[in-house]
Symmetry: C2
Subunit: 398 residues, 2 copies
């Protein structure tokens, strides 16, 4: 444990002449991932073939991987499982939660949720046709809307655009006081900040593994169900791998014990091998250290750009304690600016309408990277012609 | 096109001293798959990072792969898409179909369905709580139960245990005459027999790609929606990648055009790379040739064992035209027998209560393989002590 970040950085393939500040969207390739996947394909799939399900542990792997993620998110052992996609896991959590509060019809959520969460909720509400209402309020208004009408809150802990952070513990306590359940989307939390699901008394949590966790493009989602609910929660997506005895091939569904019931279909083993190698790196560090380093990096970034780039208006909270591991700015020509930065090797991304977003990931980004990135950003911002903006500082297009 | 099977066989990694008759459960590793996946990971993920979604075509890939599967299943262009798992795709198809027949409450299915299909249906019925009924009849009784109460038939074309085949065209016509819709599960059809979804006028179809199609353990599922329904079908699992404009990040869901709306979350790109290389082999052959060869192999298998193994009672149809690409036998000690065969290098599998199952996959299994397998099977069956069975021919345990 506690491998210094100067060493974890060497465990990733990072393109030369690139400072990758987009690990909040897609983490980079761990150096060991190709060998791990190759080994899984050659030795397990190629040689064991069908027997790999047991011999190589493929069948059990989603729970094993879940337990390793559990260490990063404060989940109790055997209460977090990987599989499917984040969107599917949102649906599962929401369907289960609504069934646990049959007399309540309000799903309380906020406009800082990733849209897919809202879309999945919308689809479920429409399918159920039981009078549920998806109430979307501003993020800062969540607390005041928690009432005894609310069946469940569906909240992304960290806003994907701005990095603004909700207080999981406080909101969960408010929800519980009103008799409501909570679903926390950890897409921008897992691997970014310290999360303690058990301590916060979260009811359900969901997330993905391809952002901060570096599992690879489209690597599986995950779901957490608190121990007190895990044998009560009805799995709406009642697939065979959530059955109590999948290989009995019974005609009727019997939900598996505990988190196993949140498994659905046959797990993607190749993707799991990649995620497995990414988690080896996570096993070497403590989230408290990652979080401390990320706060230092993002503060350095904000402070450095404050003077050199007055045209960038901070969209993230100034206080690192209530900011995730990303920094966003409003800039009218943000799309063009991000393109110009990418051309110069500083990779961030753009989110409509005007957000320039940069992620800080201490496993492979250090202070030197931040300072070099700031220099390039200052150069691009100061010396570009922003056609439609007020910042036509110099008539030079980079 | 029309590469001879003697050549396609060389395109797979097949363990020496093994005759693999379980491709109906998990297809073997295509030799090109590791290079393809390695290239995707190294050059696309490693070097392009976030830009891979567009530059490497990751975002579009599920539809591209779907079109290649469409050639094997008779789907119209851009009406089949890969993603998620078969269980999830069953749920999507069923939810859409039920919403299209709001006045009907019966889901007609049969006991030859793979259990996960029944479980997913059961979960949906329970969630909807709108009085739907899952009517499970014997496979041969499907036709007589199609009535004007039936909203949709949910049928696996080929029974996973016995290889018994339904007549897709006839049942679809009966269903349509009664005003019902059809969902066809092609898990044991795609890559095994000729399927012509368009000609059969199927409404929905679903399947997986890790069996006959050789995509790798847990490779993605797929869904087909007939062109006449594809812009009407409501996606219950309304994830962001099924949105008409996913990157607009709108607050409300607008279903994408046509099959795109059946996409849900972020696609698994590593798994798709493996499937892509498996489909390269499928691009070289015609399903009519595969089917003809598979019938020849399975007939040879049945005929050869008929004399040498009278204790094996055929569980599959004798007529190859109504049998999928597998042959199953009843044998009381089938579990022990399959273990003994695996120990001798003939890999089939066991399905409770007494089914010994063998799959025939002409891409990499030929007549010599079948004859050698038959010899070993005869030796094991004739010379083993079956403790609990009537076939205690010789007191010799292999």
């Amino acid at each position: 444990m506690n491998t210094p970040f100067s060493m974890t950085k060497n465990l990733f393939e990072l393109p030369k002449d690139m400072i990758y500040l987009d690990g909040n969207s897609l983490g980079p390739l761990p150096k060991s991932a190709i060998d791990r996947v190759t080994d899984m394909m050659k030795r397990e799939w190629g040689e064991m073939l069908i027997t790999g399900w047991n011999k190589a542990g493929w069948m059990q792997q989603p729970v094993d991987l879940g337990n390793r993620l559990g260490r990063l998110t404060g989940a109790e052992k055997d209460h977090l499982v990987v599989g499917d996609t984040l969107s599917i896991k949102v649906y599962q959590a929401l369907a289960s939660a609504l069934a646990m509060r049959p007399d309540r019809k309000v799903i309380l959520t906020d406009s800082g949720n990733f849209p897919s969460d809202l879309y999945m909720a919308e689809g479920l509400v429409k399918s159920l046709n039981q009078g549920h209402k998806l109430q979307v309020v501003a993020p800062e208004e969540i607390a005041q809307h928690i009432s005894e009408d609310v069946a469940v809150t569906l909240i992304t802990e960290i806003d994907y655009r701005t990095g603004r952070m909700h207080n999981m513990t406080d909101i969960t306590a408010l929800a519980h006081a009103a008799g409501a359940l909570t679903i926390w989307d950890l897409a921008h939390s897992a691997g970014a900040i310290e999360v303690d699901l058990a301590k916060a008394k979260a009811d359900f949590a969901v997330g993905c593994t391809y952002k901060y966790l570096n599992g690879g493009p489209g690597s599986p989602g995950f779901i957490y169900v608190a121990p007190r609910h895990s044998s009560i929660a009805e799995p709406a997506l009642s697939g065979w791998l959530g059955h109590a005895a999948p290989f009995e091939f019974e005609q009727n569904y019997r939900a598996g014990l505990s988190i196993e019931r949140m498994r659905v279909g046959t797990p993607g083993v190749i993707a799991s091998a990649s995620l497995d190698s990414a988690l080896d790196i996570w096993d070497m560090v403590e989230m408290a250290d990652v979080r401390a380093a990320s706060m230092e990096l993002s503060n350095l970034f904000i402070n450095t750009l404050k003077t050199s780039c007055p045209m960038l208006k901070l969209a993230s909270p100034r206080d690192a304690k209530i900011r995730g591991s990303q920094v966003s700015f409003h800039f009218q020509d943000g799309y063009a600016a991000i393109q110009a930065l990418i051309a110069r090797g500083v990779v961030g991304d753009f989110r409509a309408p005007d957000i320039m977003r940069f992620g800080f990931t201490p496993l492979y980004i250090d202070k030197d990277d931040v300072l070099v990135a700031c220099k390039i950003i200052a150069d691009v911002m100061q010396n570009s012609l922003w056609d439609r903006s007020e910042y036509k500082i110099k008539a030079k297009v980079t």
